[in-house]
């Protein structure tokens, strides 16, 4: 079988269906959304083609600026916490026997595929007054009476890190599983303690992977939509919540689209940075 460029319709035929589907149902909707962001809103929930930048200007107000900086700060905090916990965890995970590794992976995949709705429900139950963890503290005599810990910033943060943790482990897993064990063994033979070998050999060796993963988790957390509504207070609502609110409840598609375009630009820039960081290590 020779791998050459495909010729003629017959050889090109297999890619026609996927190409058509992706262009019609992804490229066109995406372009349409960008177009709508400069359309003029007509009162009553509609919009008409135009070229106005009012939607983008509105974005520069202090209110939306505040929401934007809160979303970015929250995502950064979630990314730092998730990677900080997941990196040492994954490092231990890849050293476990195969059976134990697989059990952990199935468990993590199950948590990963939980819907944001279910995570939100589970955490709000866990932190509630009637069915929550404070009942356990009362039973242990650590607390006088049960109390509600949600909604709050802490509850939101816990939910988001919970949601991001399995994702972070699975992004780190291939890099750590492929890490050359001899490097660390060499450090150990030369007299390093395991902790010292971890911080002087493993962490610097995977610095780019850590940076790339942090950025990926950042973008993942930036997309959180339900948890801020279920575990946070209105001041904890993120850009995703606001976009949906404008699109569905305020019927202001052009403004929602303008915010979405902004979110796309931020995300793409970050994903680009992550890819760049990941690539350098491969060539190094």
């Amino acid at each position: 079988m020779i791998r050459r460029a495909p010729r003629g319709l017959a050889e090109h035929a297999p890619i026609l269906f996927p190409a058509l589907m992706l262009v019609v149902f992804f490229v066109i909707p995406f372009s349409l959304m960008i177009a709508v962001s400069v359309f003029r809103r007509v009162p009553g929930g509609f919009y008409e083609p135009d070229l106005v930048f009012a939607n983008y200007e509105r974005f520069l107000t202090t209110f939306f600026g505040g929401v934007m900086s809160f979303s970015l700060g929250l995502a950064a905090l979630v990314a730092a916490l998730s990677v900080g916990i997941a990196f040492p965890f994954t490092y231990r995970l890849v050293k476990l026997p195969r059976g134990a590794q697989i059990r952990w992976l199935v468990f993590l995949l199950s948590i990963l595929s939980l819907s944001e709705v279910i995570i939100g429900f589970a955490w709000s139950t866990l932190l509630s007054r009637t069915a929550g963890i404070t009942n356990l503290f009362v039973a242990l005599g650590l607390m006088a009476e049960p109390q509600s810990l949600s909604p709050s910033f802490g509850a939101l943060l816990a939910g988001l890190v919970y949601q991001a943790f399995p994702y972070t482990v699975l992004v780190l897993y291939p890099a750590l599983a492929r890490l050359d064990p001899y490097l660390e063994e060499a450090a150990r033979t030369l007299g390093s303690s395991p902790l010292r070998a971890f911080f002087t050999v493993v962490v610097p060796g995977l610095r780019n992977t850590i940076v790339a993963t942090t950025i990926m988790v950042f973008v993942f957390a930036l997309g959180s939509y339900l948890l801020p509504q279920l575990l946070g207070r209105p001041q904890h609502w993120t850009l995703s919540v606001l976009i949906t609110d404008q699109a569905i409840y305020q019927s202001n598609m052009p403004f929602a689209a303008a915010m979405a375009v902004f979110l796309v630009l931020v995300s793409l820039a970050l994903v680009g940075l992550a890819l760049l960081a990941g690539r350098r290590e491969e060539t190094a």
């Binding site: 992706l22 009942n135 689209a257 979405a260």
Partner: protein, 266 residues
Amino acid sequence: MLMRTLNSLAAGLIALVLAAPILVVAGVSVNEKKALTFPPQGFSLAWYAEVFTDPGWRGALITSLVVATLSAALAVLIAFPLAWFLWRWRAPWARAFEVLGMTPFILPPVITALGFLSFWAAVGEYGSPWTVVVSHAVFFVTLPLVTLSLGFGAVDRSYVEAAATMGADDRTVLRTVVMPLVRPYVISGFAFAFVLSLNEYIVAYMVVGFTLETLPIKIFNALRYGYTPTMAAVTVLFVSLTAVVFGLIAWFGDLPRLLGAWAKND
């Protein structure tokens, strides 16, 4: 010794925190009274029965299963020819479609959801039940695309060359040599897309949320308009279903390898 104890302790703590919300929800789901209390008072499986007998919950369950099955199948139908084409031919331009297939999954989901909302509204199909199937298929096409690229990458080209030398054409090679080798990756790609579609909220909500209720939408609405232990029962059923699906993948396939680790003796 001390390190080992600390390590096991940390792993145990992480396992406990990861499992805690599910354990509490499982406790709530067997509560006898119609209230969210933990530890549960009494024991009853009535809320599990209600998932299947209450028309609202049963309808949402069936809707979710149908949507997840159809959209995962469509995602595989889009991903398979693309991954095969990239593997079979030298066509660098076709990589653009691969990147396109990866993008919806990398960007925050609200963006894809909003794109679909404007698209379906523009073509006058907003709210039609089938639009959520197409939307989910495109949104989750990344997953079969990733597993299938791994699968084709693992095919030993000398088998293919041997078959071609003996006179097999492309179609025969695909059917008799390639297909059996990539089948586990097709199945896992389908399973990933199926499980994620089952749990997806925002795309489904923006596309058909007012005309078709999937389970996540039903749960979210129930959360806003009053708790019922049925939600807890549904949650437990979902988590179990997911664990079974991935357990089966691990049982039949090489899970660490599917997730990108090299096999032990590579």
